[in-house]
């Protein structure tokens, strides 16, 4: 499976051995705390640092940091530019460049948004970098997620390279019939249907054979399913999950009631 389609980094650190639901709960709880929590610097900083610490102990911090940089660098720059210069709340101008002034409030707001995104991303990477997608899907299925949904979460990832490979052979086939893919916007727009339609048609018509193959392998068999791979879980992790859910729920409830109270 071509790795560039997944953030998963094979390994055997303690993080890899943690039950997928524990890591999923941490990621979701962190997101709730960051965006649903009291909203100050601390609410963003704490989950992010905790996630990076856990990643660091598993030797995955460097890869996570790189991924965060790759995904957020451009966004952060744009945030600072847009809010630094254009945020309506800018009062105290730190630096003026011609008609525009760099507002302190705008910069602070941009920094907070960037920090929140980085923290949530770090928490989600804790899950995605150390968990093989199929194991996450299995964990969800064992936790009662309907099998059909588990299939929908698991299979696209593996079908991706197969179907992506067709884009090139379809382009070849149409170019062999004189289709031009460069030139004016209109010409390129006209080339869209001859390139997109065969990909969609061949993929959709393929669905019938794919669903037959699943049926014949007992996909909709009525009996409870078993699994070859055993996911190690422990009572400790189970309690940890409940604690995280309670904490996040508590924080959210406090924040909501505070906002309701403050608005009257």
């Amino acid at each position: 499976m071509s790795t560039h389609f997944s953030l998963y980094q094979p390994g055997s650190s303690y993080l890899h051995r943690l039950h997928p639901l524990t890591k999923l709960t941490f990621s979701l709880a962190a997101a709730v705390v960051v965006f649903g929590g009291p909203g100050g610097w601390l609410a963003a900083l704490f989950p992010g640092l905790l996630a990076m610490l856990l990643l660091w102990r598993a030797g995955l911090a460097w890869r996570a940091a790189l991924t965060i940089f790759r995904l957020l660098a451009l966004l952060t720059v744009v945030l600072f530019l847009v809010h630094g210069f254009l945020n309506p709340h800018n009062k105290s101008i730190l630096l003026s460049l011609g008609p525009f002034g760099l507002g302190q409030e705008g910069l602070a707001y941009a920094a907070l948004v960037a920090l929140r995104l980085a923290a949530t991303l770090a928490a989600s990477l804790l899950l995605t970098v150390s968990t093989q997608p199929a194991h996450l899907v299995q964990a969800l299925a064992e936790a009662g997620l309907p099998y059909g949904l588990a299939y929908l979460l698991g299979s696209p990832l593996l079908l991706l390279p197969q179907i992506a490979g067709r884009v090139r052979s379809i382009q070849a086939a149409q170019q062999a019939r004189g289709l031009k893919t460069e030139g004016s916007l209109l010409q390129r727009a006209r080339a869209l249907f001859p390139l997109a339609a065969p990909l969609i048609f061949s993929t959709l018509v393929d669905v019938e054979e794919r669903s037959l193959a699943l049926e014949v392998r007992g996909f909709s068999a009525p009996n409870p399913k078993t699994s070859l791979n055993e996911l190690v879980d422990s009572p400790a992790q189970r309690t940890a999950r409940w604690i995280m859910i309670l904490l996040a729920g508590l924080l959210l409830a406090v924040e909501l009631s505070w906002r309701v109270y403050a608005s009257h």
Partner: protein, 198 residues
């Protein structure tokens, strides 16, 4: 037909297999579009196709899962916009159900309706979670509007609508043309496709 039977029918193995590849098409078609350097994403074509063939619930699920999976495998920012993708599928399915995908001009109208509906969800997410920007080309529109004195919220409203209008209309038209061109024996297996092919 009770909701339970409707759901059971909407989510047969065939529909599940359809949704799985539709999720892949949402992700892969971006490649074809960038190959042609066109100003659209086509990242919800699979969602709309499923909505037309298997109904609003299946369409909504396709959109939701596309962004969740895309977030899982390469860009967690996309996961934040999963509710937007859900709305695209739901609204497309409803448009089809009420006969708004029979003719090509109705598909354009549906594209506009989808754009307006998704904006209701996309704008708050973009403002509160991302401070109004996502690092894509559309940020220039927001920046320009802010520079002309608009407040962040209204700047983002205009950005989201202009950014999505062309793409969603193109997506609706393409989906309509595809369903029209699908083999008769294939669409016959989806009771809901009759709302498009009639």
């Amino acid at each position: 037909m009770s909701l339970k039977e409707q759901l059971k029918q909407d989510f047969s193995t065939l529909t599940l297999a359809l949704i799985a590849v539709a999720i892949v098409l949402n992700i892969v078609l971006g490649q074809t579009v960038s190959l042609l350097k066109l100003p659209i994403f086509l990242d919800s074509i699979g969602t709309v196709l499923v909505a037309l063939l298997a109904g609003p619930w299946a369409g909504a699920l396709t959109g939701l899962l596309t962004n969740l999976i895309w977030g899982l495998i390469s860009d967690p920012v996309a996961a934040a916009f999963a509710p937007v993708a859900l709305v695209i599928g739901l609204v497309a399915g409803l448009c089809a159900k009420y006969g708004l995908f029979k003719q090509w001009w109705q598909a354009i109208l549906s594209g506009v309706i989808i754009t307006l509906a998704l904006s209701i969800i996309a704008i708050p997410i973009r403002v509160y979670m991302f401070g109004g920007v996502t690092g894509s080309g559309a940020d220039f529109i927001t920046a320009y509007l802010l520079a002309t004195g608009k407040d962040l919220f209204s700047a983002v409203i205009i950005t989201v609508i202009t950014d999505n209008l062309i793409d969603k209309v193109a997506t609706a038209l393409l989906a309509w043309a595809i369903v029209k061109g699908l083999p008769r024996r294939f669409t016959a297996r989806f009771q809901r496709s009759s709302s498009v092919i009639g």
